[in-house]
Amino acid sequence: MKPKASSRATITMMAAAVAVLSVWSHPASAQVAGQWKDPNHVYAKICSNCHDIGVGPVIKGRNLDPDYYFQVVRHGMRAMPAFRPTDVDDAMLHRLAETLSKSAPPGGPK
């Protein structure tokens, strides 16, 4: 739902809304080890929550070592929670680490 009150569904519309929806691991809302589309998907759904709003430091475009990313994510780091192999498996975490290591700084060249 868009946050604009005016464009939001009214109660009447809702009553006429969709019938029961049944899904088994729907791709776009699949967000667990083995289901991520690519490293950017992981970044968008997990890391960016904290790292793009100033809770954690910027982690793009800093030429950090891929292994450092890997270690911080698995072990956590002080205020940062650890993420488990069921959140992101080793293979995807390596890809994420490589991607972030080579990334441009936010707002910088794409």
Partner: protein, 515 residues
């Protein structure tokens, strides 16, 4: 004694554990059983004031289906191996994903992440333990289903099932999450699968719409407990209101807490304020975006005078009350007028809307949480002191001004003795409040860790002496809190445990319940 394991379950020999691990691997596959320190690190990191070694797991097992959970439970019974179930495992500040005692095997249910059903007409959802709020949120968006979630502040990275079975809270009108759950599926310690409420009736289609079923209502005994492993849970979701209007009321003095509660309680009880409102102390408000060391060089409790200056400088209240209006624009207009008049008549408090507040990240995160949107800005609190130490102290209070003042004074006095800050909020229920204090400390400093442990212990002792119980506690203090509720309750919990789980394999020690 060297072992190939980083820890062993209590009373289980290495040889026996080898056999159990081999059987878990046969059921789950090599890739879903972890015993190495590298992978187990992610199950061991804690923020609570206790040493990590007391909570080191021996292994993590990660089933992907109810059948796999059952098979694992059978192996646990065979070898008397204790398992600590987690869902999304983000119980940060309450014990994270780590077990309450050393050597328990973590059963990580994160891979079970099916959204089994969302009924857009009835506003219900049935989900597995590994579903995150983000996943469910994206699902609703994608299918344009006009239903809202209610989530705790870690939103995106936590999950509805794990949060509700620990009786967590959110900030919408559905903020008391267990109250808005409806129907569970539970793998019992014997391996049987129990569906609670209407769900146990074959072919029933009312499991997610009627909570009580027939006979004793059982769902409650599977919350904050170790009587079973919850593998599915139903929830009621709130119809998206046609209009939502968040607002904040700021108060200048700490003692204003009395008037705040007395002014708001009638509005809350009459549901003119329908949501789980928060009354946020200045240090929580400021702590979510400031670093303490940049504003106060000392190591002890930040003085009231410094807090006052910061309040002025950053134009926040000493208390900040976040509420929302949910309804049609006309309904909201009527209620807005009532609220304006009540606040005006009380002679205190500055009432501000989103437009008046402008671009304020704290207001934005509160507004997001009040409409069940993903926003993890509250983790900013961990930068206030830094060092990753956090323990939620969570006594329950009556929604009565004199009581909240008394609790505030007690908490401040005890925190002050140990050099910690009163970083707090009150989450308002219908007649109660969850008084939430984040005991923030630097976990990298052993002296602070020890001080935090002692401080938390004294908070529990003093509050329970005064008749105040806590609604939930971290894994280092579960026995202590169980004692505060008295011997009869504790013994009955144990009798139920023995009857349902004779081998004591599920989460021994959870909420102070042992066999």
């Amino acid at each position: 004694m060297s072992s190939k394991y980083i820890a062993l379950p209590k009373g289980v020999s290495e040889k026996s554990f080898d056999a159990a691990i081999k059987e878990y691997r046969a059921v789950l596959g090599e890739a879903n059983v972890f015993t190495d320190s590298e992978h187990l690190a992610s199950y061991s990191k804690i923020m609570i004031p206790d040493i990590t070694e007391n909570h080191t797991p021996s292994a993590a097992i990660c089933p992907a289906s109810v059948e796999e959970v059952q098979a694992c439970v059978a192996i646990c019974n065979k070898y008397k191996v204790p398992v600590w179930p987690i869902s999304t495992g983000r119980n940060l500040g309450y014990g994270s994903a780590a077990p309450c005692s050393r050597g328990q095997v973590v059963m990580d249910l994160r891979r079970m992440n099916k959204i089994i059903e969302v009924d857009a007409e009835l506003g219900t959802a049935l989900v597995e333990p590994g579903v995150t709020f983000q996943q469910l949120y994206d699902y609703l968006q994608e299918h344009k289903i006009p239903l809202w979630l209610s989530c705790p502040a870690p939103s995106a990275i936590a999950g509805p099932l794990g949060n509700a079975v620990d009786r967590g809270v959110g900030y919408t009108p559905y903020g008391e999450h267990f109250m808005f759950s409806c129907g569970m599926e539970v793998v019992m310690p014997t391996g049987e699968v129990l569906k609670t409420g209407m769900g146990s009736l074959p072919n029933s289609n009312t499991a997610q719409v009627f909570k009580w079923g027939y006979g004793p209502y059982l769902d409650g005994i599977f919350t904050q407990s170790n009587y079973g492993i919850v593998t599915k849970m139903g929830f009621w979701l709130m119809p998206a209101p046609p209009a939502f209007k968040p607002y904040v009321i700021r108060y200048p003095e700490e003692t204003d807490i009395v008037d705040i509660v007395e002014t708001l309680r009638p509005l809350r009880m009459a549901m003119i304020i329908p949501n789980a409102v928060v009354i946020v102390h200045a240090l929580w408000e400021l702590g979510s975006f400031l670093k303490r060391s940049e504003h106060y060089p000392g190591t002890g409790t930040i003085p009231d005078s410094v807090v006052k200056d910061l309040v002025k400088k950053h134009k926040v209240g000493m208390w900040n009350v976040y509420c929302g209006l949910y309804g049609s624009p006309e309904q909201n207009e009527v209620n807005w007028n009532i609220i304006q008049n009540v606040v005006k008549a009380s002679g205190k408090g500055e009432l501000l809307t989103a437009e008046q507040v402008g671009d304020d990240p704290v207001f934005k995160y509160r507004a997001d949480l009040m409409q069940g949107k993903m926003n993890t800005a509250e983790f900013g609190l961990y930068n206030w002191r830094g060092g990753g130490g956090s323990a939620w102290f969570a006594p329950v209070s009556q929604a009565r001004g004199s009581e909240t003042l008394k609790q505030m004074d007690m908490a401040k006095r005890i925190l002050g003795k140990y050099g910690f800050d009163y970083v707090s909020e009150f989450i308002v229920g219908w007649r109660d409040m969850h008084h939430i204090v984040d005991l923030l400390y630097d976990r990298t400093d052993p002296a602070q860790l020890e001080a935090a442990r002692a401080c938390f212990d004294e908070l529990l002792t003093e509050f329970s002496k005064a008749g105040y119980g806590t609604y939930r506690v971290n894994t280092a203090f579960m026995d202590k809190v169980a004692d505060t509720y008295g011997p009869v309750k504790r013994e009955i919990n144990r009798k139920i445990k023995r009857a349902l789980d004779p081998n004591g394999i599920i989460a021994p020690g959870k909420s102070g319940i042992w066999n």
